[in-house]
């Protein structure tokens, strides 16, 4: 949504200016490093003001994100990044709100929330780093793990089918739906930039391999299956997007859907901003109502 909110007269912000002093704690080779760098590049491309930026997460390896960004952050409870992000954005629609998390946080414990955030089309950007595994708890199947996945908690192989996040978000009515791959950081940065600029809820799934607990689903696995979305795909073609998302052989990368719909806070507040100065309570009206 933001179109460059850096304080007027402030110096040009570089990607490094969005880095906090904390060093990421991820395993060497983790896909999340690439996603973090892509976010820095996207923020610099838009010149987002760090004072107005809020990064919200749940729990998981990727949910450590807020600590690594020079921004206000809320590292909350498992699965609840989106409700917290909604609260932040509704309380102050002038903030740039980015929610981040992993596939377990987003689609398992927090799966009930995405539907409603998409439904509201609230103007936040949600980046889900999908590694098809629970990493922080040291390797159990996630909602995107494939049948037969062997972990300590599924020693005979997972019995469930995985969900396909892009199709889900498309059917929830999300107005911006994209998929990237952490090995293509430039593409992911552009996607995040477009997502942030998009007026409404933007969902970005980033394939981000776990090199420690999900070795079979590593860089080689994804490299063999990723492909750019066909150039003829139109982002307002819902069923075309559904067909491409559901391709069993390929992970198409790019923006599946991008359409305009009024945002939640635009509908809630006149002009999309909380009124300033705040209107006073009309006590005499309230007295009439209750007497």
């Amino acid at each position: 949504m933001s179109t460059g909110t850096a304080a007027p007269g402030s110096a040009q912000q570089k990607p490094a200016d969005y880095k906090s002093t904390r060093k990421p704690v991820w395993c060497p080779g983790c896909g999340d490093y690439g996603v973090l760098n892509s976010l820095f590049n996207a923020l610099a491309a838009i010149q987002i003001n760090q004072d107005n930026l809020v990064v919200v997460s749940g729990i998981g390896c990727s949910s450590r994100f807020p600590g690594f960004v020079k921004a206000y952050g809320f590292h909350g409870a498992h699965g609840r990044a989106l409700p917290v992000a909604v609260g932040v954005k509704v309380a102050n629609p002038d903030l740039d709100v980015i929610a981040v998390g992993g596939d377990g946080d987003a689609f398992s414990i927090g799966g009930g929330h995405i539907t409603h955030v998409a439904r509201r089309n609230i103007n936040i950007t949600y980046i889900v780093m999908d590694n098809e595994i629970y990493g922080l708890t040291k390797g159990q199947t996630s909602p995107t793990s494939h049948p037969g996945t062997i972990t300590k908690a599924s020693p005979y192989g997972a019995l469930e089918q995985p969900i396909e996040p892009i199709s889900l978000l498309l059917s929830y009515g999300a107005t911006f739906v994209a998929r990237g791959f952490s090995s293509n950081p430039k593409d992911v940065a552009q996607m995040i930039e477009k997502g942030i600029r998009h007026k409404g809820f933007s969902f970005i799934q980033v394939l981000s391999p776990c090199v420690t607990f999900n070795k079979p689903i590593g860089y080689d696995y994804f490299n063999a299956r990723v492909a750019p979305l066909p150039s003829e795909h139109r982002t307002d073609d819902l069923y075309g997007a559904m067909r491409l998302a559901g391709d069993p052989e390929k992970f198409y990368l790019g923006i599946f859907r991008e359409v305009d719909r009024p945002t939640y806070t635009d509908l809630m507040y006149e002009g999309g901003h909380r009124p300033r100065p705040e209107p006073a309570i009309d006590t005499e009206r309230i007295l009439r109502k209750f007497s």
Binding site: D51, G67, A77, V84, G87, A91, E278, L287, S291
Partner: protein, 582 residues
Amino acid sequence: METVRDFIIGLGGESGEGVVLAGDILNMTAARMNIHSSSFRTFPAEARGGPSVVKLRLCRDHVYSLGDEYDVLIAFSEDAYKLHGPDLAAHGVLLIDGDPADPAQQRYPELAGKIVYHIPMDRIAKKDVGEIKTKNMVAVGAVAALFGFSREMIEKSLAERFSKRSEKMLTDNLKAFTAGWDYAKANLDKKDPYRVEAATGDGFLVLSGNEAVALGALYAGCRFFGGYPITPASEIMEILAAEMPKVGGAMVQFEDEIASMGGVLGAAFAGVRSMTATSGPGQSLMSELIGLGSMAEVPCVIVNVQRGGPSTGLPTKTEQADLNLSLAASHGDAPHVVLAPTTIRDCFEIMELAFDIAEKYQLPVIVLTDQALGFRRADLPKSLLRDRSGHAQPVPIPQFGEKFLRYQITESGISPRSAPGMPGLQHVATGLEHAEDGKPAYDPPTRRAQMEKRQRKMAGIVRDYAPTSVRRYGDPEPEIGVIGWGSSAGPIKEAVEAAQAATGKKIGGIVPRLLFPSPNDEIRPFIKACKKAIVIEGNLTGQYATYLRSQFPGFDPMEVHRYDGLPIRRSDVLQKIMEVAR
């Protein structure tokens, strides 16, 4: 026959017959006549069908409880009489739907000797008005004529309520009201002593506990409400849905209670006074995030309008059984506050207190009301609202030394707090244990230091708020002492006063509004003085009594429990006191 001006009216019928509206009209009319009142409505859990009842106590002075039995029962049918007849006082008066040619006394021998007025409500509504839905207004008309409610004021109320809906509804209801009034004037020979009388004044504000909570929050500067529908708390959400946009605030109906609490934390983090309101099942779901609020030190207010639990329990009935849940509130040692308003006025005023504590001490504050308070209405002075500005309270610019540390170790346990948008004061709020700068840290010294810092806030809360938190009735250091919490305060007050008058003994009551942390210095002299102490509460196991025993080793009170879904009555308390005083 001496006129009696303080009396209790019961209205009973089937849900759908407009019993609640009839009660509302009478209650509002009384308030406009400057008559004090307390009223209560119950209806079945199902959307339609089942019994519906309103109790309306009218008085020349402010009353603190609903009192006991009905002096006047208005039965919309014989079925309603069968259900509510047992609550009619021995000297009581019955108004019943029916034909005087076929008196109810013939079928109900217990009515022999009682004053019974027959009003063919059904027939008048159907035949004379031509709209069965106006039966309730026929009843209101007859009641107004018999007991002295202002005809002009009721007609004005009807105009206010129905003119916006449809011309026909207004005409039908006015016609029904007049028909009921005329019938009573022409056919009923007033034999009872009950009659209301207008007093001077500019009328009262009449609020239910739920309405008082909602308005209290609004006037306390709350500008974000996140919630999920649940009986008996939904009204709070509905009122704020209407009011928030008018003051630049927001009401978000979330997808569940977990999300509601998440939204509240997010909005509070963004610097807006934020709350949710729910009932037991919802608070159970919120527990994890209430703990997050405690750990991340996010100010927030959670109102629980308690109903019968556990599980779905008694959705439309009252209980005080979520104390244990609220004392723990979360897993882990999670500093937070539990408040319990005692009256409707408290429901309004405690919201400002709740937000002030939450904001100053940066923690979750749970406010425990219950269905008995939530659905009870009482009169309040209009000045209650006029004297408050109700402005939103922004997060003050934090004061700090060399470096802004969001979780700085301080003597008070209160750390400097910033909100997004404040230049250069970025921090990460986190539910992980953390160092002063918010960075996750699990080493034992940091853990100890942060745990103790957060816990120190509790001592400050006791210091700041305990002295004014306690309601006292009767003798402050009594021989017989009654202790309770929340909605039982009114019955305790009235029972203590009645028992003092009846026995001449030193009898007192104490009802703390701050339940956690416990205002022990305020309670101790009272219980030390008691030769006999009674803890009365609306749950089966004596949750507050158990808690008090943990606070005061050796304290062993008698206990009175009510867990049948009904509010504690004045007579429940009085009976026990008299038994002990003997």
